[in-house]
């Protein structure tokens, strides 16, 4: 999505022959992500049982400057691509799913600001401040009385000259109480239609958050996705210039689905690692025979590899769609390609979310009671509970229905037809 990270260790236009020197060292951000994942893993059970924000993991992420990973280098960030940030999400998810999901949601907000506020001085300054202070951004797209459809709002921006005010009853703002800024959707004006929305960056110090509910959930307990009454004020410049409908289609949905899929793939990968360890220990105790769970492990590994390959395809498609958007006018872009991309992102989300659960179910069968019990090296209860959120975060049934509509626009190419 952005320029790839310049690897400071790469030789600069070296005249030396490329042979044997071509193996680049691991990029620094990968090792940093692994260090953060280790911290996240250490506190994952506490975060889960206490349903608290993963403070230790986020202290580590800030220390490693990974909150600005996707911010362009010109604004002080690392300028990593979507694929790189996906890799960070996957790594973090192997330690703690809540940490990884919060990190993914933060990056989604960064992507929206970078893509659609890039030309606005206020938003560029915001990204520079994010890099400097390692700020954490959250979002408030859902609204009471509206339900889960983020593409309509009841609340509206109240403009008074150069200043705005919004008041929103949000059934969930994930980690809202821990965020330095919250991106809020609202109708453009009090007279605007429900779908004529804008996205506003509400800064912490100018935002009142009043708790309206607790987050005591089955899984993803560390995301602290509590309900709030939000009242934000600020300058009109804080409103992103692009209509929210375009931000959602072009950036928020594709980035959400790819980064969420990265998180779920990471959770499944950690579970499979536990199954492999269990299987090895089992085989060791009875040398010469393959334990009965072997076939299930082979199945789980195969499914995980399919998830990883599917994710790769989606990241490639996202990169291509982004490049196409920069190269041609939106009005004349082929609609079939845009709708095809949208359905591709939809099926990514539905298939990875359900397959991740299938994989961990297999792992549970492999590890048996050791997997069912909490506090063993093979426990996967938390993995399962965390992953049960995956088909629900934008309900898979709703997405499948939307995909079916999109598929109506895809006509198979038939010979002899225009």
């Amino acid at each position: 999505m952005n320029a790839p990270l310049l690897d400071p260790a790469a030789p600069a236009a070296s005249p030396a022959p490329a042979a044997l020197t071509a193996i680049e060292p691991e990029p620094g951000w990968r090792a940093a992500a692994q260090r953060c994942a280790a911290v996240a893993a250490q506190f994952a059970d506490a975060v889960d049982s206490e349903a608290r924000f993963p403070v230790e993991a986020f202290a580590a992420l800030k220390h490693e400057r990974l909150l600005s990973a996707m911010v362009p280098t010109a604004c002080g960030g690392a300028g990593l691509s979507l694929a790189d940030v996906g890799a960070i999400c996957e790594t973090l998810a192997q330690g703690c799913a809540s940490t990884a999901m919060i990190y993914a949601m933060h990056q989604i907000q960064v992507a929206c600001i970078d893509e659609h506020g890039g030309a606005s001085p206020w938003h560029r300054q915001l990204l520079a401040q994010l890099s400097e202070h390692q700020w954490l951004f959250a979002s408030a797209t859902s609204e009471e009385t509206i339900g889960g459809n983020m593409r309509t709002s009841a609340c509206a921006v109240e403009l008074d000259g150069a200043r705005f005010r919004i008041e929103k009853l949000a059934p969930t703002i994930s980690y809202g109480a821990h965020a330095d800024a919250i991106l809020v959707t609202a109708r453009r004006t009090a007279e605007s239609a429900a779908a004529d929305q804008v996205l506003i960056v509400a800064l912490r110090e100018k935002t009142l958050l009043e708790h309206r509910g607790v987050w005591d959930s089955m899984g993803m307990r560390g995301t602290c996705s509590e309900g709030f009454r939000l009242v934000a004020t600020g300058l009109a410049e804080q409103i992103l210039p692009t209509p929210f409908a375009d931000i959602a289609d072009q950036t928020m949905l594709p980035v959400s689905h790819t980064l969420w899929a990265s998180v779920w793939t990471g959770v499944a990968a950690d579970a499979v690692n536990r199954a492999k360890a269990f299987f090895r220990a089992q085989a060791r105790s009875k040398p010469g025979s393959v334990p009965p769970a072997g076939m299930r492990l082979a199945q789980a590994v195969g499914l995980l590899q399919m998830m990883q390959a599917r994710l790769q395809v989606a990241l490639d498609a996202a990169r291509a769609a982004h490049a196409a958007r920069l190269n041609e006018s939106q009005a004349d872009a082929p609609l079939a390609a845009m709708l095809g991309f949208a359905s591709d992102m939809n099926t990514l989300k539905t298939s990875i979310s359900s397959t991740a659960l299938d994989v961990v179910q297999e792992v549970l069968m492999i590890c048996g009671m050791a997997g069912y019990k909490n506090g063993t090296p093979y426990s996967v209860g938390r993995h399962l509970r965390d992953l049960y959120s995956a088909p629900l975060m934008i309900n898979n049934d709703r997405i499948a229905q939307n995909t079916a509509s999109l598929l109506l626009a895809q006509r198979p190419a038939a010979p002899g037809r225009a």
Partner: protein, 82 residues
């Protein structure tokens, strides 16, 4: 034709405003036309006018106003008659 297009809009586009209140050149995206709704709009136009919109004509611009949809239908009908 524009009367038929307005009827189709009210049946399949789920706009924020009544299509009858829209000028022929009004921006339908500004009136709340979503990319998903364009799919249903496309199918309804094809059914109503007995045409098939080729991929090369399928752009956001095609559905941007009643005028642009009418022009496309006219073009396709003429091509069919020729």
């Amino acid at each position: 034709m524009k009367t038929a297009l307005r009827r189709i809009l009210s049946e399949s586009a789920r706009l924020d405003v009544s299509p009858d209140s829209l000028a022929d050149d009004a921006d339908l995206y500004a009136a709340g036309l979503s990319s998903l709704a364009t799919v249903h709009l496309m199918l309804a136009i094809e059914d109503e006018f007995g045409v098939e919109i080729p991929d090369r004509m399928l752009t956001r611009r095609l559905f941007s106003s009643i005028d642009s949809m009418a022009a496309a239908v006219t073009e396709l009908q003429q091509a069919k008659a020729a």
